[in-house]
Symmetry: C2
Subunit: 458 residues, 2 copies
């Protein structure tokens, strides 16, 4: 809905006509995210020309909408002094990420142009463990002392605003930078100008620790509808903030990650943040082969089961049983996948807690029973009328479908709950894992029912 292909030719005309002022004026009226789109849609040289027209602050904002590679390319094409000016006005978290990825020689030329405080800030932010609050937070936030008036606070904000990621949430710190209160710009605007900050600030500040998991941080922002969450170190000193847009990025990434796990690809802290096209096939194969091998070994449980029951297929026994084996194991895997998907979702949304284990299992058992009755009945008639099998073989398949549905639903409910209980991320309990788990047991159910219903004996 956002791209405007009509504008691109006009922009090219302005660039080629050298009308930089008109171009700059037009770009100033646009959202920086939109300017980034224009630059992407233009041929390389023209896009770079548009980027160069922008003032440093606008460049910094536009830059944040590009992918990692394009950011490096644009910045490395600049003279070191200009690049340093850009880094000076960039959001502090984006800046640390960018410097991490730039060519080392280039960085060595650029950094001496920055003040020491800026260089230290970059080094500090880059040092946090990936996946923690520290690694996603930014340091360009607003702090206020407790004793000043609202009038002075607003004046301060006015001065600091250009260099802050957000001025809508302000944090009150003591002389040791310990976080002692919170006040929103809305509260400031509504307050008497002569009121003192400490009288009107919120004392109980929702916060996170610098080594908290980033997903935890995103969930807190989500839960309390925050624009930003302050991050403190072990001494309760304020060291950064994580903003609402970071929370969206974290949740989106973590949740698509869950689909990957659910599909049976093992998590890999180093590769998880790589886009699809950037993970080398070798690392993709490494991530998948682990699970595939493990499941292969588990799947091998079906081999002795088949060996054990092979005699039932002999002539004189019930060779037709063979026809419906894949049908049975397949249906069990499908029913199990449905249940495990439902239970993992309920756990992710916080609707299913560990204390509900028994209730969940009972509920899924009941669901499995209903599904089993429906599918078993349909299967019974289908096998007899469509596949031309006698009534007794049809009954075996029907009863087995019933048993397998019930069993798979119970397994699909129990396994993720047990995983959580022993401290394993339940999202790792993938659909393939459940399918594999119910394959061997499904075959045992099938052949046992067959032996009893058909009265088979060795």
């Amino acid at each position: 809905m956002m791209r405007n292909p009509l504008l691109v030719p006009d922009l090219r005309e302005l660039i080629q006509g050298g009308e930089e002022d008109v171009l700059r004026e037009f770009l100033e009226d646009q959202h920086p995210g939109r300017v980034a789109e224009f630059i992407e849609d233009l041929p390389d040289g023209d896009g770079d020309a548009v980027f160069r027209v922008l003032a440093p602050r606008e460049r910094a904002e536009v830059l944040s909408y590009f992918g990692a590679d394009e950011q490096s390319r644009l910045v490395e094409a600049m003279p070191p002094k200009e690049a340093a000016e850009l880094l000076r006005v960039m959001s502090h978290d984006d800046r640390a990420d960018l410097v991490n990825r730039l060519d080392e020689d280039f960085v060595d030329e650029v950094l001496p142009n920055l003040a020491q405080a800026e260089r230290e800030d970059i080094a500090r932010l880059a040092a946090y463990e990936p996946g923690t609050a520290g690694a996603v937070m930014t340091t360009d936030y607003v702090t206020l002392p407790a004793h000043i008036t609202v009038r002075d606070a607003l004046e301060r904000l006015r001065h600091e605003a250009p260099d802050r990621e957000t001025i809508y949430y302000c944090y009150v710190v003591d002389h040791n930078r310990r976080l002692i209160g919170f006040i929103s710009l809305k509260t400031l605007i509504l307050a008497r100008r002569s009121a003192v900050i400490e009288e009107i600030m919120q004392l109980d500040v929702i916060q996170a620790k610098v080594d908290d998991d980033q997903e935890e941080v995103a969930r807190t922002i989500d839960k309390y509808d925050l624009i930003a969450l302050p991050i403190v170190d072990a001494d309760s000193k304020l060291v950064g903030i994580v903003t609402h847009d970071d929370a969206l990025d974290i949740l989106r990434r973590e949740q698509t990650e869950d689909i990957l796990k659910f599909g049976g690809v093992s998590p890999d802290p180093e590769a998880d943040d790589l886009p699809y096209w950037q993970s080398p096939v070798v690392s993709v194969v490494r991530r998948r082969i682990k699970w595939l091998m493990l499941l292969f070994l588990a799947e091998n449980l079906t081999t002795p089961v088949n060996e054990h029951f092979q005699w039932t297929l002999d002539e004189g026994q019930a060779p037709a049983l063979f026809f419906f084996m894949a049908l049975l194991t397949g249906t069990g895997g499908n029913a199990g996948s449905q249940t495990v998907g439902t239970v993992i979702r309920g756990m992710a949304l916080g609707e299913i807690k560990l204390s509900h284990t028994l209730r969940v299992v009972l509920r899924e058992w009941l669901t499995g029973t209903c599904l089993g009755i429906l599918l078993g009945t349909a299967g019974f008639f289908y096998i007899h009328y469509w596949r031309g099998q006698p009534w007794d073989v049809s009954a075996v398949v029907g009863l087995s479908l019933f048993g397998v549905c019930m069993w798979s639903n119970v397994i699909g409910a129990v396994v993720p709950l047990v995983a959580r209980r022993v401290g394993i991320d339940p999202a790792v309990v993938s659909a393939p894992f459940i399918s594999t788990l119910v394959d061997a047991t499904g075959l045992i159910i099938y052949f046992t029912i067959a032996i009893n219903v058909l009265g088979l004996a060795k």
Copy 2:
């Protein structure tokens, strides 16, 4: 990390001692989300007492942190006049949702206490189609005329702030309420007080239409890092805004929904928003049986395949082939699930586009080939040394594992891309769907390789 069990006994003491002023003062220093937690953690009577101590505006904020049932219970316990006062100060989107769920007789008593404009606002918001921008937007936003000065705009904000969901983003409208510009509070604070809004506003406003899909709206907020997105009707008139916290809710819900689909539970617009415990088992069964039946029919393709190849298991041919059938189909399903999970994730993150179809298929084919070589080789030796099969049977299983891995990876890549191309949500291409799809084809690969390698003939 947020709950504080130590405070609850203290709170109970204050309530039972009737010390309402101390209690109110304590609660005012807390985030409303935290107050909601206290109320939840207290026994019912005490929790209600805490809620009653709060001023209407605080009540409204605290209420937004409760689940739907608890909200209704708390409000229906109020005298109608008090409930009306609460509705007056609630966020407009929450209010419309709440009224929708309250007892009708109670609503009839409450609504006459509200101004007509408020009643109309509630009715209008409740009328939008679920799942659209209209259904999630709120109407308590700030608009500014284009011709006023920054000084006047700030004065206006100060007056309107208490009744607005956010004052950080202001929308500029003409006399017909058409959206003509945007200005953030940050820009206002930085601007000269005598500047006129239309000189400094952003002209190109990122916006959505009232009937756009809510997921589209959330993605736009995510993409442009917005605090709020304005929603316009067909005449470009501003009718509401969707805020950053709504975007988080929408994405979280839509993405856990994707896990459900991926597990093979068909989407159901009416039941999708129901929490796990509130969907009746009957409706759960209805949602699952559709897919299960469909997959059952597809899974039946394995029956004629087995019938066709049964002779290969006869004595004198290769009865051992039977042992490894479930192993083969299972592994194919697992490899296919891995690929489809990866591809769906890439599509959800926007990394894989339709134009990449050929590249994706080639890449997954290459991955499948590598996986097939590794697993095939491992399987070959495993079958010979551990399961005691002769070299030729081991070779059949090894080669089949190779073929099935390659084939399942290609299918897992092609199917979601084809689904998107024909307009089906690729997340519906579930792990069970792919497993089922590769079961029959996997068996064909297996038996064909067996016939050729072992030189079997009828």
